[in-house]
Subunit: 249 residues, 2 copies
Amino acid sequence: MQKRSEDTGSVPATAATLPVTVDIVALTVRSGRLQVLVVERGIPPFAGRSALPGGFVLPGETLETAAARELAEETGIVPPGHMEQLRSYGPYGRDPRGPVLTVAYLLLAPSSGLPQAGGDTADATWVPVEEAAPADGGGPVLAFDHDRILADGVERARAKLEYSPLATSFCREEFTIAELRAVYEAVWGTRLDARNFHRKATDTPGFLEPTGRTDASGPGRPAELYRLAPGARPSAAVLHPPLLRPRRP
Amino acid sequence: MQKRSEDTGSVPATAATLPVTVDIVALTVRSGRLQVLVVERGIPPFAGRSALPGGFVLPGETLETAAARELAEETGIVPPGHMEQLRSYGPYGRDPRGPVLTVAYLLLAPSSGLPQAGGDTADATWVPVEEAAPADGGGPVLAFDHDRILADGVERARAKLEYSPLATSFCREEFTIAELRAVYEAVWGTRLDARNFHRKATDTPGFLEPTGRTDASGPGRPAELYRLAPGARPSAAVLHPPLLRPRRP
DNA sequence: AGGGCTTATCGTCGCACTGACGATAAAAGG
DNA sequence: CCTTTTATCGTCAGTGCGACGATAAGCCCT
């Protein structure tokens, strides 16, 4: 795979070579709250502390592959949902073992069929993001610089819900408007008017597609079931007008 | 800097170690067009081809430091403006020398005081992004995967202008509404109504602050000079209502 | 069967924002 | 003074949105 000839040149000897890790901000919506997957570290550094799932990239591995592998190792399954790169952090001042570059990934997954724990590393549990990301000046909660990575991931998710169909990644294949609204409310931490949300969600072109089926599991009038409109990728800014989160003042 | 003890553990021997580069998508607005800084490569691979400025991270260097150093080496100056991380690419399938991880940065700089070329590597020139990023199915223009990185950077810039004061990073300290509008028109590639833009820009709270001075250099009525409102960081989504780019329908 | 409860869905109204575009202000150059 | 040019201010109709009323369609209970 690695050619060394006059045509391609070679990596200069002065170039730094860095160990690279991937960390995953895995988010889901359970019991009406936005929750993040954290693992309890079994080995130093930060043994016994909570951390985002992740680990070192192995030789020959793609970053995405490494992220999926670490997630599978620590949660026992490859969940459905949407994964995208968040950004990179480091390499200095974030790992006591020395310079380590990490590439963070953001996973948005439906809560159905998600395992609670398992794997060989340590216990993996879902915790509400407020517990893992204190907004006030409380001390750090997660190991390494994972507090900041989590905050960046949550903010990315909150922002992307406004102008992308990404919220559907938290839902099953088919879902009701109320379930979709619960996703927005959980991620944004706000309450939304059911009637206005219904209007906006169904009126936005290229967002939802009715399946014709209904869901009568809960109390009250059965709800129409929808799926993501065909051709709409979970990412990509296609929501016009956007679904803006309510303002403060 | 690098402690090795029972408390911190050490990087596992199985971890991959990768050479890391930084690449910079440096954008500016000159002659009413969005332009990107490209260098002509002097050494293999891709010798003679155009590429984004960038290079290998040196030992002990921060990614941001490396980005600033490469930019200084290849353009001869540290320009003002706003720099933020774009994302990471690789490490496979993007460099014929082997696996190389690159972290791309986005720089938005005013055109005033920007050098044309210089440095020890090769000539650095500003070229309109349409020439360096063919929207149609034309072949690749830049070396490595820099076509994609450039496209991602331009899209990031276009999106951020909508909800952040980032457009002011293309301007000098003080600027007129017309200059700011020219930035939006160049970045978005559209024409904007001068009267409506003036209303939206001046009415958006937390965006602009009048300086009281005027600029009478051009023809016509002298324009009020504005600066970025105090406390507003160039990034950060603070524009409400956002300045949305015109739609296609 | 009918009344009450719950949730889903549809409608209405006023306000804010937008785009299209007219009107005025303030300079330079003839 | 008049024309040209650009900046800035106003007007008006269409659209989207938040607040909230009204109706639909299930369930459970008696």
